[in-house]
Amino acid sequence: MAALTPEGPMAQLTPPAVAAGPVSGPGRRRRIRVWRGAILAIAAVYFLVPLIASFTFTVKAPEQDFSLDAYGQIFTTEGFGQSLLLSIGLGVATIAVVLLLTLPAMLAVRLRVPKMKPIMEIVCTLPLVVPPITFVAGINTVLQFGPDYLASTPFYQTIFAIQDENFPVVLVLAYVILALPFVYRSLDAGLGAIDVRTLVEAARNLGASWPHLIFRVIVPNLRSSLASASFLTLALVLGEFTIASLLHFQTFPVWIYTISGSQAQVSVAVSVFSLLITWLLLLVLSSAGARQRSGS
């Protein structure tokens, strides 16, 4: 599942930006082309060998012929649908919350208090620095805080409600914080590419209310950066293991880990399968972004 953690998609997203550097002279160009090929080859080996190994493992056990049974079993193994749906649900909820939280906040900072921008940047980057194990230990402590005399209060009931096994809101809250750095980065890039202040003032001048101008003016012009923020968040949630496991929730990655003890082949097959899903999402996303660039 390594490729599904935040580092995975980020590593795949960065190379195009690096490759766009200036090139001069035909000799130099050829040398650069050779180097490009070499680096591509190294990267390909680095990424493909584990994938091919995983795939081989799923289709050919010792003393057995080639078979795709493991992939067929994915869908029949108990808990697959439930955990995948839970993870996707958590992902969608996290995306909704994190975007509703950051977009208005970033707009407000840009338009009203630009001096606060560095502070906001630091706050949003902080989750990268805090190790997940520390984070989850903190969450656990908070969840276990509940003196008996509070038992009948709404506070206590809230603590219980957010730990509902069918939809643990506490995970959404935790993932929102984990996703902040990625969402902040992509929205910041998107907002930097348009003249937010002028667009907002033009829309206000034409009579638009704040919700109207956010949904009709800001969001359409941030489509690709909103899409990439959403994608990064989804990838993060689909791959997050530490927090979900330590809080004992059966999300998709936790489920894969659980079945790997009894059905090793199936668990690796699921990993390969979910990697394919993630790539598919990435493709859809980048083509959506490209369509927007040519359209506007």
């Binding site: 002028t198 033009a202 206000r204 001048n205 034409l206 009579g207 638009a208 003016v217 506007s296």
Partner: protein, 362 residues
């Protein structure tokens, strides 16, 4: 479409210690085009933004037709605005951009499109409705922005340096077009600019601002010919400062005696303010003056003439520039007209921040 009367009363606005507006009073009559002119940081844009509702004055009121709109939110005001930077919505085509305000007001689509088409014809670009902003030139984008601002038939039009991002030729043609539209619609227009030529050529009246206060408001000819203060005199057009000496109601300057216009400073030694076109040059081998530099501008040429330890700028007809080539000895003569005087330059420079420099003379 009728223009509204806009009044600014005692507007004050501070930005972290510096006053962008310092008690600005200005009345803009219904249907007139007024230009707010001044150096950067004089508060002209802040004043416009107070009318648009993007800026709240710390003190003072904005009245439109006698109604106080100071606290009315920007989206409830009846004023269309064209911005300095390109402000068309990149995700909408031109037709939808122009019709944006109508869409906000839930006007049915057919009516909206008809109105957008009407406006595109008004600005002379009837065929671009389906295009996107990035496919248009800068001048076209600003015209569309103008059409968009006019779509709701506002009673006030606000122009925030809309031409400053365009190249010279487009700028001139577009300012004529804006003026033509403004006159035919009779819409009250506030035009912010730092370009004096733009202000003088377009506006009914020009308001010169300095450090958040009104320095002078007058029609372009009066502003140029009879500036109320030395600041206006030097900001609008070019001005020579030549030392002179007060004698009663007259001033002796360069061997001539001219009547004084405006206030007299307290001291007899003054700087006399003279327009370059009021300086006449005659070639004269015996004279003290000598042409140093000549910059040819086609219809006119501006000459820099040395006279003792001062330098004087003179505008002469272009065809005279050959006769008055650099190195030529010339006699200087001033046109017999009342002149403006100010305290001599040392004292003025020291008191440049106060609105009435004359009182600071030692």
């Amino acid at each position: 479409m009728n223009g509204a009367k806009v009044e600014l009363r005692g507007l004050r606005r501070n930005f972290s210690g510096t006053a962008a507006l310092d008690g600005l009073d200005l009345t803009i009559e219904s249907g007139e085009l007024i230009a707010l002119l001044g150096p950067s940081g004089c508060g002209k844009t802040t004043a416009l933004r107070c009318v648009a509702g993007f800026e709240q004055p710390d003190e003072g009121t904005v009245l439109v037709d006698g109604k106080d709109i100071t606290r009315v939110p920007a989206n409830k005001r009846d004023a269309g605005m064209v911005f300095q930077s390109y402000s068309l919505f990149p995700n909408l085509n031109i037709r939808d951009n122009v019709a944006f305000g109508l869409r906000v007001r839930k006007v049915p689509a057919a009516k909206r499109h008809a109105r957008a088409q009407e406006l595109l014809e008004l600005i002379g670009l009837p065929h671009i409705g389906g295009r996107f902003p990035h496919q248009l030139s800068g001048g076209q984008q600003q015209r569309v922005a103008l059409a968009r601002a006019l779509a709701l038939e506002p009673r006030v039009l606000l122009l925030d340096e809309p031409l400053s991002a365009l190249d010279a030729k487009v700028r001139v043609s577009l300012r004529e077009e804006i003026r033509r539209l403004q006159l035919s619609l009779g819409i009250t227009t506030i035009f912010v600019t730092h370009d004096q030529e733009e202000a003088l050529s377009m506006a009914d009246r020009v308001a010169v601002l300095r450090a958040g206060r009104l320095e002078q408001v007058a029609d372009p000819a009066t502003l140029y010919d009879r500036p109320a203060t030395p600041f206006v005199a030097e900001f609008v057009g070019t001005m020579n400062r030549v030392p002179g000496r007060i004698d009663g109601n007259q001033v002796a300057v360069l061997g001539q005696t001219l009547p004084v216009d405006g206030d007299l400073p307290g001291t007899p030694d003054v700087d006399v303010l003279i327009r370059p076109e009021a300086v006449r040059l005659t070639p004269d081998a015996e004279a003290e003056g000598m042409v140093l530099v000549s910059s040819f501008r086609g219809s006119t040429a501006q000459l820099r003439v040395q006279l003792g330890d001062i330098e004087v700028l003179a505008d002469v007809p272009g065809h005279d520039s050959v006769r008055l080539a650099p190195g030529t000895r010339v006699r200087i003569e001033l046109v017999e007209r009342p002149v403006l005087v100010s305290a001599s330059s040392g004292a003025t420079a020291a008191s440049a921040k106060t609105p009435v420099p004359e009182h600071d003379v030692v």
